[in-house]
Every structure is written in structure tokens, then in C-alpha cells.
């Protein structure tokens, strides 16, 4: 039988995949993709917990996460377009202005 643990572990694994993406990718668009993966992973956990406890709160949070993701896309893509106009690339390394 599939229990809460299964979903949570799947969620954890997907989250880590997203994290690896965030850490590994230098392309901003890819970073955004990886972020979406992380958000989705969390949503799975929310839905699973909601189902496990028969409580709607989990789903509510998932809705708000989706709303946040939608806002993030609107603003983030606007920024991406501007950055691309300015630097001609989406590579994070190209934006390094500070010298540590």
C-alpha cells in the first residue's frame, strides 16, 4: 500500500533533483525550471499530507504555492528579458560584477 511516507520520499527526491538543478545550472532559464521542480516537489508533499490527515490545509498551501509560482514567472520572466537585453546572455557567470 502506498502511504504518506512514499509520497514524502518522492517529494524529497524531486526536491533534491530541483536543488541539484539550481546548484548545477548556470543558465537562468534552467534555474527557473529547477525552481519550479522544487515547488512542485513541495506541492506533492502538501497534497499527500492533506490526503493523509483528511485536512484541506495542505491543499490550500499547494494552491498558494502555485499562485506564488505564477507571480514568480511573471516577474522573473520580465527580469530575464531585461537581463538578456542588457548582457546578451542568460549565463549567471556573466553577471558577476563583484570581485571577491
Amino acid at each position: 500500500m502506498i502511504g504518506l511516507g512514499h509520497y514524502l520520499i518522492l517529494s524529497g527526491i524531486l526536491f533534491s533533483i530541483g536543488l541539484v538543478g539550481v546548484l548545477r545550472r548556470k543558465n537562468l532559464l534552467m534555474l527557473f525550471f529547477a525552481t519550479e521542480i522544487m515547488l512542485n516537489a513541495v506541492n506533492i508533499a502538501f497534497a499527500a499530507i492533506s490526503n493523509h490527515y483528511h485536512d484541506m490545509a495542505g491543499q490550500m498551501f499547494a494552491f498558494f504555492v502555485i499562485a506564488v509560482a505564477a507571480s514568480e514567472v511573471a516577474v522573473g520572466l520580465g527580469l530575464l528579458v531585461i537581463l538578456y537585453k542588457k548582457y546578451g546572455t542568460l549565463d549567471l557567470d556573466a553577471y558577476t560584477v563583484m570581485r571577491g
Binding site: V22, L23, L92, D93, Y95, T96, V97, R99, G100
Partner: protein, 640 residues
């Protein structure tokens, strides 16, 4: 009336702040005029309050709650009663004269405005001191006058340090520091006294504290009395904390007149008078007796040093010291109102004496050595008159109920000493009266009579500005007539202070005693006349004698202090600085700084400006946090 209290209190502050606005700019006569006017307003307010207190009674105002911490409630209140209103009037009157005088005296000083700012600030502090209705407010004023005194003694801070042989005070800034540090030592005692009172009474309001005194144990009363008197000793320059007062003569002469003769140094006496319920307690009678004995000792001690001194201002300073001794003697013997009366009378003629000395100094281009003066009465007629009057007052000349101010106040003190059967003290005080007369007139004759030795120095003395001389006249008049108000004053202040009556026996022989004192005083004057009227004849043998050198070196006390306290303390400080501070404290602090700097240098590389790298650090941190949270959760679960 409340408004008058505030006007009297805050007018000097307003003047000070006004002058401070121009503190760094060039001399501006307006600051002098404005501050003088404001002080005068304060004087007028004080005078009105005086009459109010006399006719109606004390005024007690509570401006605001000052400190409220837990059970501690100390309001910012002001009490205008017989004692404080006397002090207020004296302080503001002398201050007004000194302010006006300073307009002339500081005429050529480039820090003219700054001077007035300090001077008015001092008056404000003094007003807070005398007007406060609690010990803490008194302490604030106490510290305020201390700071102002420091500022004013060191007013010419730019003067270089010189050796003790050239100038016993070394330099104005040195003298300022000495005064301040000595006062700090004494203030510690004062603070302890305040703490003792608060600890045992739970309040610092005068009325509350004094009402609670009978309930306190003897030990506490003695401790409080001693501790408070230590504070008074510092401010009033009693032995062994006396050396600063003569060195304080490094300050401008108006300062010496105002602070180190008329007002601030009397704060100690004021404290004892103010705390008379405490010092009147049976339990502390030997403390009071000690105060009287110390006062008497200081009176003769200071007078002896004045005998041989050549510095015009220092002689007056020693005489101040001596007179403070008289006041303490009176206060210690329980004759508080006489102490207060002497305080007021002394303020007038001592301020006059100092300001006269200032005139001389001004005329002599800053020269203060009386051996280099002589014959000045021709050019400085008014000053001669003023100083003569003041010296007569100081010497206590007068007979059969007619005489100068000092005659009434000082004789009363001597009488008290006799009345209390403390004949040793009485003897010394009588003797001191003679000494006082001698050194006062030694100075007068050496300055104004005899051959004109100043010609050798190429100095052309000239009289002070007219308005300054006019401004001094109230002091001169008061120095002459203040004594006639003795009975009236007694009637006024004994509403608050305990009355003091001579015994029948003393009363009977009072005229004999008075005559004896006068005889000593006149004897002193005559001696001085014989010795110095014709001019200066230096006796080399006498000057080389041990006693003479002992006296002129102030009993070697400043040197003794320097050798036994200052030098070892400096050595200790140097050791602490070199070893403890630099090698331990500083090294630790520097080590922390270095550690942080090194950490910063090392970890700076983290901050590459590359977002990817940041993300990695963030992920590492997140991992760490999750791990810690998990472990902590597990541990807490295990604990349950």
C-alpha cells in the same frame, strides 16, 4: 513665586547657552552684556524670593519627576528656604559683580565669549546646588560646579607646564586637573554618604531624610555624617585636600573671586549647614567636634602659610582657606547660623579683595609678586580703598558693636569657641585672627605703600575702567555694613536653623573677649605697618630659616603628595598601561580584531559575486540547518 524660582535658576543657564553659541567666535561684547544682565535678573529674582521667604515663608516647587526606577522616585524639586535663599542672593550678587567686572578684566582675552559661557554655567550649577530639595540634585550641582571650576581654572589651558620652582601651580591645566581630581576623591565620600542615606531612609528628599534621622542607628548616622563631610572637605579645601585651592589661582582672577572665594568653596560649609539636623544628632557629636577642630586647624594652618607668601592671589587664597576653617569651626560647634552669616559676609569682602587683586594684576601686566609692587596707592586710589576696606573687614576690625562685616561674624565664631569651653580652639582662633590681620595688611602695605619697586620692571600701572570700579562698590558697601544686619539675619535664618545662644557667663565677658581679638588684630596690623610700610627690606637670614622655608613651601605638602602619591600612582599607572593594559587587555582585544579580520580575509573569497556560488553556500547552510533540526528533534524526543 514659582516662576521666580525658575527665573532665578534658569536665567544663568540661558546666559551660558547664549554665550556658548558664540563660544568659538571672536570677542563679542554682547555676550558679556547679555550674560551679566541675565545674572542680574537672577539676582533680582533671588532678592524678591528673599523678601518673600522673609515675609511669607519657604517656597517648594516640584518641576518634574526625574528618576523613577522601581521604588526609587527622585523628583526634580527646588526648595527656596532661608538657607538656600541666602546662598542664592549671595551667589547671584557676587556673580553679578564678577560678571560686570569680567567685562573689563577679560577685555583683551580672545576667549571672551567662552569665558562668559563657563562663568554663567557655573552660576547655574551653583544655583542647582543650593536650590535642590534633595541630595541628588545637590550632588548634580556639586558636580556641575566641579566641572565649571575645572573649565575655568584651566581657562588658559594653552600655557605650558613649568617646574614647581618657577610656579608652584605648574600650569593652569595642571591646576585644573589637580582641583578636579581632589574633588573627585572627596566626591566619592559624598556619594557614599548619599548611598548610605538612601539605603537606610529610602529617599533623598531633605525633609524625608531629616525626619527619618532619629530612627537610624548610631553607626549609620556617624558613617553618613563622616562620608558627607569628606565630600564637604574636598569642595571646601579642608586639610588634607587643600592644596588645589591655592593652585586654582591659575584661573582668571574673576574666577578666583567668584568660585574660589565667594561661592563654590563654601559649598562644603553649605552642605554641613544644610545637613545640620544630621550633624546636630547626639550620636555624631564627636564628628561635629572633629569638624570644628579640623576647621580651627585649617584656619591657623592656612594663615601661617599666608604669612610668607609673595603671590598676591595666593595670599588671598590662603586667607580664604583660613576663613573656611572658621566657618567649619562654627558649624562644627553647632552655631550654624553664625557659620552661614560668616559665609555671606566673607563672600562680600573676599570677592572684593580678589577683584581688587585682579585690578592690581591688571595694572601690573599680570605680575602677582608683591615684592615687586609697592606704592601703587598713587595710581590706584580706588582699588587701594577697596582692598583696604576688604582687608579691614577680613581682619575683623571694629569695636563696641560698630565695625566691618568680619568683626561681627568672625568675633561671633571665636565667641562660640569660648562658649563651648573648647579653649584650645578658642586660643588658636584668636591667634589666627592676629595672623589674619598681619598677612592681610602685609599684602596691602607691600602692594600700595612704600617704594615703587615696579619701576625696575618697566611697568606702568593704571587704574581699572570706571564702570568696573563702580560695579565693585556694592561689595565694598556690603563689606562695611553687612555686619549691622547680624541680629536681623539671625532672626531670619533661625526660623530654620537651630538657634544658638551664648551662655550667661560668656555674655558677660563678651566685651573682654572682643577686645582681646581686636587687640590681636590691631597688633597684627601694627606689626605689618612697622615692618612693611616703608618699603620692602628683605631679611636674608630669616628667609633661609627652616620655618620660613617650611611655610613658603606650604609645609612641603604638595611635594609630599607628589612624592608619595602622584609618583607611585603614576608608576602604577604606567605599569598597568604597559603590562596589564597593553599586553593583556589590548592584546586580547587586538586578538579578537585580528581573528575577525583574518576570518574576513579568508571567508571573503566566498563572496565571489557569482550567484551560483552563493546558491551552493545557501544549499550547504540549508542542509546543515535541516540536519541540526532533525538531530535536535531526535534528542528532544529521546529526552521525553
Amino acid at each position: 513665586m514659582e516662576n521666580l524660582v525658575y527665573i532665578a535658576l534658569f536665567a544663568p543657564l540661558a546666559g551660558s547657552l547664549f554665550a556658548a553659541l558664540f563660544g568659538m567666535s571672536k570677542k563679542n561684547i554682547i555676550t558679556g552684556i547679555v550674560t551679566s544682565t541675565l545674572i542680574f535678573i537672577s539676582f533680582v529674582a533671588s532678592a524678591i524670593l528673599f523678601s518673600h521667604v522673609m515675609t511669607v515663608g519657604p517656597v517648594h516647587v516640584r518641576m518634574m519627576d526625574w528618576i523613577m526606577a522601581g521604588d526609587m522616585l527622585i523628583p526634580f524639586g527646588f526648595l527656596v528656604d532661608q538657607i538656600s535663599v541666602t546662598m542664592m542672593t549671595v551667589v547671584t550678587l557676587v556673580s553679578t559683580v564678577v560678571h560686570i567686572y569680567s567685562n573689563g578684566y577679560m577685555d583683551h582675552d580672545k576667549s571672551f565669549n567662552r569665558f562668559f559661557s563657563y562663568l554663567s554655567a557655573f552660576v547655574f550649577s551653583m544655583m542647582v546646588l543650593v536650590m535642590s530639595d534633595n541630595f541628588l540634585g545637590l550632588f548634580i550641582g556639586w558636580e556641575g560646579v566641579g566641572v565649571c571650576s575645572w573649565l575655568l581654572i584651566g581657562f588658559w589651558y594653552h600655557k605650558e607646564d613649568v617646574s614647581r620652582e618657577v610656579n608652584p601651580s605648574i600650569s593652569p591645566s595642571w591646576a585644573a586637573n589637580e582641583a578636579f581630581i581632589m574633588n573627585r576623591i572627596a566626591d566619592l565620600g559624598m556619594l557614599v554618604g548619599i548611598f548610605i542615606l538612601y539605603w537606610n531612609v529610602g529617599s533623598l528628599q531633605y525633609d524625608v531624610v531629616f525626619a527619618a534621622l532619629p530612627n537610624l542607628s548610631d553607626g549609620i548616622l556617624v558613617a553618613a555624617a563622616v562620608a558627607l563631610f569628606i565630600g564637604a572637605m574636598g569642595k571646601s579645601a579642608q586639610f588634607p585636600l587643600h592644596t588645589w585651592l591655592t593652585d586654582a589661582m591659575e584661573g582668571p582672577t574673576p574666577v578666583s573671586a567668584l568660585i574660589h572665594a565667594a561661592t563654590m568653596v563654601t559649598a562644603g560649609v553649605f552642605l554641613v549647614i544644610r545637613a545640620n539636623p544630621l550633624y546636630s544628632m547626639e550620636a555624631v557629636h564627636w564628628v561635629s567636634y572633629f569638624i570644628a577642630a579640623l576647621g580651627t586647624f585649617v584656619a591657623v594652618f592656612a594663615a601661617s602659610m599666608a604669612l610668607v607668601n609673595r603671590d598676591l592671589k595666593r595670599i588671598i587664597a590662603f586667607s580664604t582657606l583660613s576663613q573656611l576653617g572658621y566657618m567649619f569651626a562654627a558649624a562644627g560647634l553647632g552655631a550654624y547660623w553664625i557659620a552661614l552669616f560668616h559665609l555671606a559676609a566673607h563672600a562680600f569682602f573676599k570677592a572684593l579683595l580678589f577683584l581688587g587683586a585682579g585690578n592690581v594684576m591688571h595694572a601690573m601686566d599680570g605680575e602677582l609678586d608683591i615684592f615687586k609692587m609697592g606704592g601703587l596707592k598713587k595710581v590706584m586710589r580706588w582699588t587701594y580703598l577697596y582692598m583696604g576696606v576688604a582687608s579691614l573687614a577680613l581682619s575683623g576690625i571694629g569695636i563696641a558693636g560698630i565695625g566691618f562685616a568680619g568683626y561681627f561674624s568672625k568675633d561671633a565664631i571665636i565667641e562660640v569657641a569660648f562658649n563651648e569651653h573648647t579653649y584650645v580652639l578658642w586660643t588658636i582662633l584668636v591667634l589666627t585672627a592676629g595672623l589674619t590681620a598681619f598677612y592681610s595688611f602685609r599684602q596691602v602695605f607691600l602692594t600700595f605703600h612704600g617704594n615703587e619697586r615696579y619701576h625696575a620692571l618697566g611697568i606702568h600701572p593704571h587704574e581699572m575702567y570706571g564702570y568696573v570700579l563702580v560695579a565693585l562698590s556694592p561689595l565694598a558697601i556690603l563689606a562695611v555694613v553687612a555686619g549691622f544686619y547680624k541680629d536681623w539675619f539671625e532672626h531670619f535664618v533661625t526660623k530654620l536653623l537651630p538657634e544658638y545662644h551664648m551662655s550667661e557667663h560668656t555674655h558677660h565677658i563678651a566685651w573682654i573677649l572682643g577686645l582681646l581679638v581686636i587687640a590681636f588684630a590691631v597688633g597684627g596690623i601694627v606689626l605689618a605697618y612697622i615692618k612693611y610700610n616703608r618699603g620692602l627690606k628683605r631679611n636674608e637670614k630669616l628667609e633661609r630659616s627652616f620655618v620660613y622655608r617650611l611655610l613658603s613651601n606650604q609645609y612641603y605638602i604638595p611635594i609630599f603628595y607628589e612624592k608619595t602619591i602622584s609618583k607611585p600612582y603614576a608608576a602604577l599607572s604606567r605599569f598597568s598601561w604597559g603590562t596589564v593594559d597593553q599586553k593583556v587587555v589590548d592584546a586580547t582585544v587586538d586578538g579578537i580584531g585580528k581573528f575577525i579580520k583574518t576570518t574576513g580575509d579568508t571567508t571573503r573569497k566566498i563572496q565571489t559575486g557569482n550567484l551560483s556560488d552563493y546558491l551552493r553556500w545557501m544549499a550547504g547552510g540549508a542542509l546543515l540547518l535541516v540536519a541540526i533540526a532533525f538531530v535536535a528533534f531526535k534528542l528532544s524526543q529521546g529526552a521525553h
